[in-house]
Symmetry: C2
């Protein structure tokens, strides 16, 4: 089996096309790594890159993209809807095939140390790569975002896992980690009332008592005049997409608001969609083995 790791670095730039392209450049035309997707969102002012490839080659390529982002992004001027603490906000590694979670953790630690050593950026480790239990959660590390962390990084409980307790002057701090695959899923609502999105996010997310594998926030998409419940489904096997979507629909009815569309950001495993298709289509006894392409993949692997 080929050794493949997925890496999904998030950069704090979703508006300036030339910066987006410059950051993505190192992922192109490299033997051993395939750039699968990159999507920049101007409201979030953020870009998510998805690449799959050999673990060691991936580390080199991601490091080059980080260098470029640090050169081109100034956090002192950055504004966007999505929480962030640095120019390179978060870099998760996900095991795909022939690679264990432990190897992904080791990869995250290697990359974090190198970024700190060569670029002087303080590093936090999260999820499976966390060195302090409370830092398993990204939102704990990111609390108060760039602006608050700048002040609080000197406090012992907010000291980075690697590096001195001070922000990089323009690139802030970076979170690196390893995790299972997640689904980044946004639900757009036909209203401009941010309160509706915020209330629904509160109803579904783990941190306020909702589904324990959902992280969600409500936000305005001002350019589009609508609001959005933006979420990460951190375990789509426990809470499939359809369940969350239908609960959001149901909650939105309280305000007479409709779901006007949804978005899947970046890549996801086919399972995450098949499972919801089976629900809506009431398909019994369907096996992934009935999907032609999955069988072909198996034959080739």
């Amino acid at each position: 089996m080929r050794r493949l790791v997925e890496c999904i670095p998030n950069f704090s730039e979703g508006r300036r096309k030339e910066v987006v392209e410059a950051i993505v450049e190192p992922f192109k035309g490299v033997d051993g790594v395939s750039l699968l997707d990159y999507s920049a969102d101007p409201d979030h002012n953020r870009m998510v890159v998805t690449a799959v490839g050999d673990p060691d080659v991936m580390l080199e390529v991601v490091f080059k993209a980080v260098e470029k982002a640090v050169e081109l992004i100034n956090m002192e001027e950055h504004k966007g809807e999505h929480p962030r603490i640095g120019a390179v906000d978060v870099i998760p590694f996900v095991p795909v095939s022939g690679v264990t979670m432990e190897e992904c953790v080791e990869l995250a630690h290697r990359l974090g140390k190198r970024i700190n050593k060569e670029l002087g950026i303080p590093i936090y480790f999260y999820e499976e790569a966390a060195l302090r239990p409370e830092r398993k959660k990204l939102e704990v590390i990111r609390r108060g975002e760039y602006e608050a962390l700048k002040q609080e990084i000197t406090k012992p409980e907010r000291h980075p896992d690697v590096g001195e307790p001070r922000m990089h002057p323009t690139a802030g701090a970076t979170v690196v980690g390893a995790r299972r695959p997640l689904v980044a899923f946004n639900i757009n609502l036909g209203t401009d009332d941010a309160k509706v999105a915020k209330e629904i996010a509160k109803a579904i997310r783990a941190s306020s008592g909702g589904f324990s594998t959902i992280k969600a926030r409500g936000m305005e998409l001002k350019e589009r005049g609508i609001v959005q419940v933006s979420m990460n489904i951190t375990d789509y096997k426990k809470n499939p997409i359809y369940r969350i979507l239908e609960v959001v629909r149901m909650e939105a009815k309280r305000w007479g608001v409709e779901v006007i569309g949804t978005e899947i950001i970046g890549l996801l495993p086919v399972d995450a969609i098949l499972d919801s298709a089976k629900y809506y289509m009431q398909i019994k006894d369907f096996s992934d083995n009935q999907v032609l392409e999955l069988r072909l993949l198996e034959m080739g692997g």
Copy 2:
């Protein structure tokens, strides 16, 4: 690119496990052909085998399975809900990768001639492999099923495309052909009234004025005490699964009947499901490229 053809032979045996296993045996452990699925249905008294592989190896393997079915199935004793004219009812070839439709047609013709020559079974060619335009349609060839064809095969308009105009004494006749991928989709309804299924089938199928890529029939599933609209979606790009399902739901309401479940028989291309998932989940701008496994398949291919 690997040269791959899909073959989905349909055998008239869905009850006797040992016969089912004996027919499937030739597909197992062969270099160059992968048995992807086989499902036997006792109500239909029919088994559908799905295999993918090298065209020439596939021809050999399918021929062996045909030999076995001819040895073990006696059409004089066969009863089942599904229309059929022989022990080996129909054998379609479908291009998957690196193989043209023309090559599949040629493969169908070669197999049909061999089955006739070595086993004495009259052969009809259908869909893209048809030699007479009216025989593009399987239902034209199968009109009146085994029992009627036994009488009518002597009439010129029902003469086989290969062989003498007389049925094999126990194995009847066989249809061989080449076609685009189809989706075999069944919708189960919460009633034992066959009329409901028959009326709905009539409403949706091409032959009575419905969707032009749908072949459908209504039938009783006596063992389960329910009825079923059993269909082939011959072009799921023109009529996605969700559209047919929602129309069936809508029509069933006239009788106060609910869809209690659906079934996908055999294999289908992932597209056919993604498309419906996108509808139900209102996903905007989703590309197949966002499906991790499809990207991995592309990388390996």
